[in-house]
């Protein structure tokens, strides 16, 4: 049987299928009923795990801490409980100092019904990511879910040691609708799906160095990617931050005047940049690895 689609799978399926068989142990599982204390104010239904699964398991026989967002519940958004589970997991990883953390992002950003709690959760998570990395722990992110990785999710992903992304995995701060609402349809037409994919999608992120591995949309491919990024995770130190500074400044110098991702790909040397969005996985990886920005990018 072929590996299930990452995009279609639920957060629980992703966790279960990614880890070694029967190795997953959940912390504060759904039977604990630690739901959001705020959604009832809005007459909205709760989910028993608040859309966040955290626990521990084995990947190739080696222990990992794992967190997964369910993108279909409230768009995978960060609420108080949802976020606090990840914060606690990262703080434990920092204290242990040797077990990597794998975060399966699938989020629209902060949950508006508990916006302040969600925003602070992101701030706490980012600090905890940095603390874990300073303790020598790889913190890696996988992005390929329905909700993408938006808002504070994008910032958290940007704090990770390494990222794997699939074509479906959009990474961005402001979502298409938010840009259109605030700046007008001339700035960004959120209904133009091709524009969304080439501006924020996984191919563009991989090409410009926003992700380290390009995964196919299968659980098996993301499992391989997770193994790879854990192995190749960058340490967080002054050298890494300085290298990232240079990398990000150079990106603005090289591509800052481009009006569209197509222009970026052309200036990177793609002979037929228009063809990239429609390109199959293997063909794209082969082409991209010849073009893309510095491999093993500092982040």
């Amino acid at each position: 049987m072929s590996s299930p689609s990452w995009f279609e799978a639920s957060a629980r399926q992703r966790v279960k299928e990614m880890l070694d068989q029967d190795s997953f142990v959940e912390f504060i599982g759904p039977e604990q009923r630690e739901t959001s204390p705020h959604l009832s104010l809005f007459d909205l239904p709760e989910q028993f795990d608040d859309g966040m699964i955290v626990g521990r398991g084995l990947l190739d026989g080696k222990p990992v801490f794992i967190a997964a967002q369910e993108g279909r519940f409230m768009g995978g958004a960060f609420g108080e409980v949802h976020g606090a589970k990840l914060t606690g997991l990262l703080r434990a990883a920092r204290d242990v100092g040797s077990i990597p953390v794998v975060i399966l992002f699938d989020t629209g950003g902060v949950r508006l019904q508990e916006a302040n709690a969600g925003e602070l959760a992101i701030a706490e998570i980012m600090r905890a990511v940095v603390e874990a990395r300073l303790a020598g722990v790889p913190v890696v992110g996988l992005v390929g879910g329905r909700a993408g990785c938006y808002g504070g999710g994008g910032l958290t992903a940007g704090s990770c040691s390494a990222l794997a992304v699939s074509e479906q995995g959009r990474i961005s701060v402001s979502g298409p609708e938010v840009i259109e609402t605030n700046r007008g349809v001339e700035e960004f037409d959120s209904k133009d799906r091709a524009l969304v994919w080439r501006t924020m999608g996984g191919k563009q992120r991989y090409l410009i160095g926003g992700a380290d591995v390009f995964a196919d949309d299968t659980v098996a491919s993301f499992r391989d990617a997770a193994r790879y990024v854990i192995e190749h995770a960058a340490a967080l130190d002054l050298d890494t931050l300085q290298a990232e500074q240079v990398r990000l400044e150079q990106r603005i110098e090289r591509f800052g005047a481009c009006a569209d991702a197509i222009d970026i790909w052309r200036s990177m040397g793609a002979a037929d940049p228009q063809s990239l969005p429609g390109m199959a996985f293997e063909d794209f990886v082969a082409l991209a690895d010849g073009l893309k920005e510095t491999r093993h990018v500092a982040r």
């Binding site: 599982g29 009923r33 009832s40 239904p45 709760e46 989910q47 279909r72």
Partner: protein, 105 residues
């Protein structure tokens, strides 16, 4: 938010040894079902929380039908509803029993 609880006599104890299982997701037109053991073998309880109020009769009928078709003895099923239609509810309840009995859902 409406809370509904139904208790039924069940003919058979649910098979398997798993303590709990969860299926589904709380999203529009969908629901999650958390199923746990712990009741006497001949009993079954279904607890529902739904934002769509006033459909107690429909829920009651779906649950009666479920208890008759499955053998959920000893199970407590807790539902968070996202506004699912009765056929989706029936599907998830059946999946929940299969999941706790140890079959892949």
């Amino acid at each position: 938010m409406e809370k509904l609880t139904y208790r039924h006599v069940a003919a058979l104890r649910a098979k398997g040894t798993r303590d709990q299982a969860i299926v589904g997701v709380v999203a529009s037109g969908n629901l999650e079902v958390l199923v746990e053991r712990g009741l006497p073998d001949g009993e079954c309880e279904v607890e529902i929380r739904t934002p769509v109020e006033g459909f107690g009769d429909v829920w009651s009928a779906v649950v009666v039908d479920f208890v008759g078709r499955s053998s959920p003895g000893g199970l407590k099923l807790s539902i968070n509803d996202g506004g699912a239609r009765p056929d989706m509810v029936a599907l998830r309840l059946a999946q929940a029993v299969r999941a706790i009995e140890g079959e892949r859902s």
